[in-house]
């Protein structure tokens, strides 16, 4: 047993020694890392209104993905270059992102079919190579409503897609039911997502209590389908009076340490003026004593 182990270890050392030059060459950091340009295209629809596209440009250098800003990108609907299919031209910002809404000029083309393909063509610039990307989606609508069940308040969402001239339910799609907060989306109950049934619907009980809302107690609830292969990202929101009214008290022009002199806090004025009056009363008393001393001159 001992003999076998010795042989194995020596073989292993020999293999490592043979591979060492290859490994060193592979780790040679002096060779410039190859740059790869990446172009992403996403379809989004909010409140079933005008759809918009999000473009993202990145470069991959070594193991790092870096945003590529200032990249001009042209976007087309259903055709990859025709002028009449041009949605618009955008330039990515320093985060490598740009957004464009569907123009009214393409409304007819948009309504003409139930599914569409978007093309993005990025032009070659100093830090980015010429790239193309496309995404195909089926036109869909996400509807959101409230429902008052026996067990309290609920949210009901329905996802339908366009087939020919009609809208048909989409089953087996994940939908998030949440409340929009400053930092993101807060699920209305324990489940992160709900799966649509045969009618394309999901229902989620609104289990959140005492959620701070606006001044009238309204909160914004949302239904979201996120980066679905068929329909893209859809979000529909609704204002519901299910929160607690939050009224912000303004301290402006109230008595405070940071207000103007005339609005100084009473407690501070009492303490400060009390000290000043106390000390200066004593000083005045001392001056009176001095006056008494002067008056005593005549008696002397």
């Amino acid at each position: 047993m001992m003999h076998t182990r010795k042989i194995d270890i020596s073989k292993l050392i020999a293999v490592i020694a043979l591979c060492m030059p290859v490994m060193l060459c592979a780790q040679d950091s002096s060779a410039p890392a190859a740059r790869e340009s990446l172009l992403y295209l996403k379809y989004q629809l909010k409140n079933n209104r005008i759809p918009y596209l999000q473009v993202q440009t990145k470069t991959k250098e070594g193991k790092a993905f870096l945003p590529a800003g200032n990249v001009p990108v042209e976007l087309f609907l259903d055709k990859d270059s025709a002028a009449e299919a041009l949605i618009g031209k955008v330039t990515t910002n320093n985060l490598g992102e740009a957004t464009i809404w569907m123009p009214g000029s393409l409304a007819k083309a948009w309504d003409h079919a139930s599914d569409h393909t978007f093309y993005a063509q990025a032009k070659a610039v100093k830090n980015f190579d010429a790239m193309q990307a496309s995404v195909t989606i089926i036109m869909a609508r996400l509807e959101l409503d409230t429902a008052a069940g026996s067990d309290g308040r609920s949210l009901k969402a329905k996802l339908v897609k366009k087939e020919g001239e009609s809208w048909v339910p989409m089953p087996e799609v994940d939908v998030r039911l949440a409340v929009k907060r400053l930092g993101g989306y807060l699920p209305v109950a324990g489940d992160e997502t709900y799966t649509t049934d045969s009618t394309g619907s999901v229902t989620g009980e609104f289990a959140l209590q005492h959620l701070p809302g606006d001044s009238t107690g309204k909160i914004e609830v949302v239904a979201r389908v996120e980066e679905n292969d068929e329909v893209g990202t859809l979000e529909t929101s609704l204002l519901v009076p299910w929160g607690e009214p939050v009224v912000y008290k303004s301290d402006f022009n109230k008595r405070s340490l940071w207000a103007t002199g005339r609005k100084a806090p009473i407690w501070l004025m009492l303490i400060a003026y009390g000290c000043i009056i106390g000390v200066w009363s004593t000083v005045i008393y001392l001056f009176i004593n001095l006056y008494k001393i002067i008056k005593l001159r005549s008696q002397a």
Binding site: L268, L286, N289, I293, A300
Partner: protein
């Protein structure tokens, strides 16, 4: 007074009577006047051309002027230490030192007020502090407390002087005409009656009690000018106590220096004796230890945590471009004087004088290091500003004004010492008589 060697009243009066300047005195006064005039010319330039003649910019807006202000406020606290605290503690040995302490206090507080106006750049705007007073602002508290402290210090200098003024008025032939007019104006009404003495003694005790909280307040409020500003190095709850302990130390050091110089040049060996140096030396050792303790607190605790915004500031102090000044202030301003004065031989007049000089010089640097490095290390990075904003070294105008103000303090002390007895004559006679009776 010298132990076991009672002196005659005439001898005491003769020894302590204000003396005309000798050659050294005249040269010294002339030197101070020249430095003050150079400072006044620099201030004229600052008024004429604006604060741009200084090195003060957006970041370091408090430079050498505010360092000087804090230094003067600190040194003025000696009046409350020697006159009030030691008097109330019944430490009778401090009697000959009270007038020196009060003279230092009054002159320092005068220039503390003036240097603030210099720092404002536009002196006419001083009136806004009164017309737009915000009681919430530490600057308002500072103005109130400095003016209060000035009045109280002046009273504490004046009331114990009344019996001495009677003596001065009774020797008109020894005074110049101008001095006779001053003495008559200030003390002709003092006849030394029992009622007058009773009222005067009562007033002095009341003043001694009153000046202690006011003195603590003046330096606490000064420290709050910094501590209520959220910046590395100033963000401390200890600042009040830290400043007060430092103020007492520099005041003690200044008294040691003044004791030695007055003793030497006015021939006061019979009145400011080894015992006074010995006792004052012990007091300074205690104050140095106390201030050292607060320094350890102020620097060790933030250095232990080394929060990112504090890191650069502390590194600059410990080992960066301010390190020379920092370690000078700690070692020369506190540790070496403390070691000198710990030993009996070190508490003799000459070594005690040098210990006092080290304390005072170290204290001036310490104030500079409290003010400037913090302003150069704000929380937000300094970006897109001219090069001159990133560093601070005072211009010649600032140096001239600062040195002029220091000379001004010394000039007031010198002139007060010319006009009034440095050691209280009446108290010395009373103590001498009591000693003879015993």
């Amino acid at each position: 007074m010298k132990e076991h060697s009672p002196l005659s009243t005439e001898k005491i009066i003769s020894d302590l009577y204000p003396k005309k300047f000798g050659r050294i005195g005249r040269v010294w006064t002339l030197f101070l006047v020249i430095v003050c005039l150079i400072g006044a010319y620099a201030y004229y330039r600052q008024l004429r051309y604006g604060l741009v003649v200084t090195s003060l910019r957006d970041y370091v807006s408090w430079g050498i002027y505010i360092s000087n202000f804090v230094f003067f406020v600190a040194i003025s606290l000696v009046g409350s230490l020697i006159t009030a605290i030691l008097r109330l503690a019944n430490a009778k040995w401090s009697t000959p030192l009270t007038r020196i302490a009060e003279m230092i206090a009054v002159s320092a507080i005068v220039f503390a007020s003036l240097i603030i106006i210099v720092d404002m750049g536009r002196p006419e705007r001083l009136v806004y502090i009164f017309t737009h007073t915000r009681i919430q602002s530490p600057i308002t508290w500072d103005v109130v407390v400095i003016s209060t402290y000035f009045v109280i210090s002046l009273l504490l200098l004046y009331l114990p002087l009344l019996p001495d003024l009677q003596i001065l008025n009774s020797h008109p032939n020894r005074n110049t005409g101008f001095l006779n007019r001053i003495y008559r104006f200030l003390g002709a009404f003092w006849k030394g009656t029992r009622e007058q003495e009773a009222i005067n003694n009562r007033s002095i005790i009341l003043l001694c009690i009153l000046i202690i909280p006011v003195a603590f307040t003046i330096h606490t409020v000064t420290s709050w000018l910094f501590a209520t500003t959220y910046r590395p190095g100033w963000d401390s709850t200890n600042f009040g106590a830290y400043f007060i302990s430092g103020a007492f130390l520099v005041g003690g050091g200044a008294v040691l220096v003044a004791m030695y110089l007055f003793r030497k040049f006015y021939g006061l060996q019979n009145y400011i004796t080894y015992r006074h140096f010995d006792n004052m030396g012990r007091v300074v050792v205690m104050l140095a230890l106390l201030y050292l303790y607060f320094n350890v607190n102020e620097y060790l605790v933030p250095a232990f945590k080394m929060k990112k915004p504090e890191e650069h500031h502390l590194e600059e102090l410990f080992s960066g471009k301010f390190s020379l000044g920092f370690w000078f202030a700690i070692i020369v301003g506190m540790i070496i004087p403390m070691f000198i004065l710990m030993f009996k031989k070190g508490r003799r007049p000459y070594p005690a004088f040098w210990a006092g000089v080290m304390v005072v010089v170290g204290a001036w640097f310490k104030r500079y290091l409290i003010v400037t490095p913090t302003l150069l290390h704000p929380f937000l990075p300094m970006a897109d500003v001219p090069e001159s904003y990133l560093n601070y070294f005072p211009s010649w105008e600032e140096w001239a004004i600062a040195m002029g103000s220091l000379a001004g303090v010394l000039l007031i002390i010198t002139l007060l010492a010319r006009v009034f007895p440095i050691v209280p004559m009446h108290e010395s006679i009373t103590e001498n008589d009591a000693h003879q009776e015993n």
